[in-house]
């Protein structure tokens, strides 16, 4: 009996372990390859730091800048997007979760439909919208740091990502609001607080985990994004290029045998993600937990 049970438990571990190890192989390769001149499987053929030259010189030739402006772009774009998503989602989710007004159910259903929408269908119309915004003075293409909100600007890309992220963000935040006890809000009302004060002074401090989870999730989504930046910007190391584009261009200009340098750039983009991951796994796993009620 006990041998059979141990065997079964062992089997369960093996079933889980094999695909998990397979999954981790890629990450192992990334780390090893970025510090070696060539790899055979996971075995490095000579350790080197040469692959990390991209930190101070451009791999595309001396005409191009190094990776830091691109990193800065990615960071700015991600922060702008995260800030807008969290602000709008938490403001929108509060009345949707807890206030009585006409059209509430309709609006929630609509966000759900939007969430189920295939992104590719929206890319085409958004392309035209961005071209149109670009022609507006100042807002379109002349804001410092983010470039503006038009086509081929960081702000524009961030705005598009906000649009894609908001339905999800609103549902997640609504899920967290839904879980707060009604008595607490009633109590605050009797104590004399307005709904806006209740939102800011009572509810927001109590859904910090939700805010954190949505922030991290949004930031990572923006940091990792490829399809939206590639569709709505021009040029590989241009003014509004981000890391994903930089890396993808590097990949397509390299052959397999030179991939150690590419791996280093990949690891460079992955490092912040891994740091987030190490410190906030619980938060990330909980985004679905809080949002579960809202149907992710």
């Amino acid at each position: 009996m006990s041998i059979r049970r141990m065997w079964r438990a062992g089997l369960a571990y093996i079933v889980l372990l094999i695909p998990t190890l397979f999954l981790l192989l890629g990450y192992a390769w990334l780390v090893i390859a970025s510090f070696s001149s060539r790899t055979e499987g996971l075995k490095p053929v000579g350790w080197t730091l040469n692959n990390w030259r991209f930190l101070w010189e451009s791999p595309f030739g001396s005409g191009y800048s190094n990776i830091w402006p691109v990193t800065m772009n990615t960071l700015v774009m991600s922060l702008v997007m995260t800030a807008i998503v969290v602000a709008v989602a938490s403001l929108a989710a509060y009345p949707l979760s807890r206030m009585k007004f006409a059209g509430r159910k309709g609006f929630l259903s609509l966000t759900l439909v939007l969430h189920a929408f295939p992104s590719v269908t929206l890319l085409i119309p958004i392309y035209f919208v961005l071209l149109w915004i670009q022609r507006i003075p100042v807002i379109g293409h002349e804001i410092p740091l983010i470039g503006g909100f038009g086509y081929n600007t960081l702000g524009g890309v961030a705005l598009v990502m906000v649009a894609f992220q908001l339905p999800f963000g609103i549902w997640v935040m609504k899920g967290f609001f839904d879980n707060i006890s009604w008595d607490m809000e009633r109590s605050a009302m009797i104590d004399g607080a307005s709904r806006l004060k209740i939102w800011w002074q009572i509810l927001m401090p109590n859904i910090k985990p939700g805010i954190a989870a949505l922030s991290i999730f949004s930031f990572l989504t923006a940091w990792n994004a490829y399809i939206i930046p590639v569709t709505f910007t021009i040029g590989r190391t241009g003014q509004s290029s981000v890391l994903s584009l930089y890396l993808q261009n590097f990949i397509s200009e390299s052959v397999m045998t030179e991939w150690n340098a590419v791996a280093a750039v990949g690891l460079f983009q992955l490092i912040p993600v891994l740091l987030f991951f190490l410190f906030t796994q619980e938060s990330l796993l909980s985004i679905y937990g809080g949002g579960k009620k809202g149907g992710v």
């Binding site: 006890s181 009633r186 109590s187 009302m189 009797i190 004399g192 607080a193 401090p205």
Partner: protein, 365 residues
């Protein structure tokens, strides 16, 4: 502050939560809303607080209709079952919150918070967060927060049901004393009839959104208006027995297979003539049923189970399908299956209409 409730109705969609409620609460009175869960008592309380809007009817504070006032304009304090303390604020900030919102200056705020905190015996805990307090301490903070703005009306929504039995007994006494000392009009919602009986000046019993009865604890216990009230108030509950009410000569008799009881004059005089003869439900409290040797009482019955309660023993009998209980001084000697005689204190017999559940005795409150 006097509270008057007139024809109050509340619908949630098609569900009627409160049905044509009429009630008045005198200034400084302590009233309990008593009933099983879902009976509409909390809904009524929340309408008084201004959280829910009445579908129809009026709520008045004094002479003023308050239906459309916001909760903050009603000058009320409320204590919730879950305490509803703000977990991210210290005890001080929790209690001070109503004053902070009113922009009371810092010095006065500190004085008033300290005063209510000392009154509630939590003056030493002001720097803690609610999460670091015991249930009883959280309860005190919640009461202090309700009191700090010196409200005209205090509302309690099952405040003791999350406490353990011993603490509940103690808080029960403290809240009652507090209400008397402060002379604040108070409404206390509970499903625990002992709490309602021990604390309130008057009890409003509700069921299915309808007010069953409204009176002092003693009235409700001695002369319940309905079968529901009779069964809900008192522990162990009142015995009920289906029985025929018949006229024989100049006397009224209760007749059933195994028994025949003549109603004493004072009860017989109260019976509404229209119900004789008919089947009624006889109610009698277990303390008014006395166990005697077989053949010596009003009727005989077989012991089903004996439950010692400490001071007394609760003895259950089976009468056909129905159960009949007697409270008797402990220790009771007599085994399961023994036939015993039962003697009723006939002046305590109450009679109800089996269809409507209403008392068929003319009220003599």
């Amino acid at each position: 502050m006097q509270i008057t409730i007139e024809n109050l109705c509340k619908f949630f969609g098609k569900v009627k939560a409160v049905d044509n409620l009429n009630l008045d609460i005198a200034d400084k009175e302590f009233v309990a809303f008593l009933g099983p869960s879902g009976c509409g008592k909390t809904t009524t309380l929340l309408m008084i607080a201004g959280i829910y809007k009445p579908t129809s009817g009026y709520i008045r504070f004094g002479d003023r209709v308050v239906n459309h006032l916001l909760p903050k304009e009603r000058n009320i304090g409320m204590v919730f079952q879950s305490y509803a303390l703000y977990p991210h604020m210290t005890v001080f900030d929790n209690i001070a919150y109503p004053l902070t919102l009113k922009k009371v200056n810092r010095k006065e705020k500190k004085q008033r918070v300290q005063r209510v905190a000392d009154m509630m015996g939590i003056g030493e805990l002001l720097d803690r967060k609610p999460g670091e307090l015991s249930g009883g301490q959280q309860q005190r903070v919640a009461v202090a927060r309700a009191l700090v703005k010196e409200p005209a009306i205090l509302l309690f929504d099952e405040p003791l049901s999350n406490l353990d039995a011993k603490l509940r007994l103690r808080m029960r006494g403290e809240i009652k004393r507090l209400q008397e000392d402060l002379s604040v009009t108070s409404i206390y919602v509970t499903h625990d009839q002992v709490e309602a009986m021990t604390m309130a000046n008057r009890i409003a019993v509700m069921n299915h959104g309808i007010l069953q009865t409204y009176g002092t604890p003693n009235q409700l216990y001695e002369y319940p208006d309905t079968l529901f009230v009779a069964g809900f108030i008192g522990s162990p509950p009142m015995n009920f027995l289906k029985i025929d009410l018949e006229q024989e000569g100049d006397g009224l008799y209760l007749v059933r297979r195994e028994l025949k009881i003549r109603l004493p004059e004072e009860i017989a005089a109260q019976v509404k003539p229209s119900v004789v003869p008919s089947q009624v439900i006889m109610g009698i409290r277990p303390e008014d049923v006395h166990i005697v040797p077989a053949n010596e009482g009003d009727f005989d019955a077989e012991i089903y189970v004996v439950e010692p309660l400490g001071r007394e023993d609760l003895v259950s009998f089976r009468l056909g399908e129905e159960e009949f209980r007697a409270l008797t001084p402990a220790p009771f000697k007599g085994g399961v299956g023994t036939i015993m005689g039962l003697n009723l204190t006939k002046e305590k017999i109450r009679l109800f209409d089996p269809d409507t559940g209403n008392s068929v005795l003319k009220s003599n409150k």
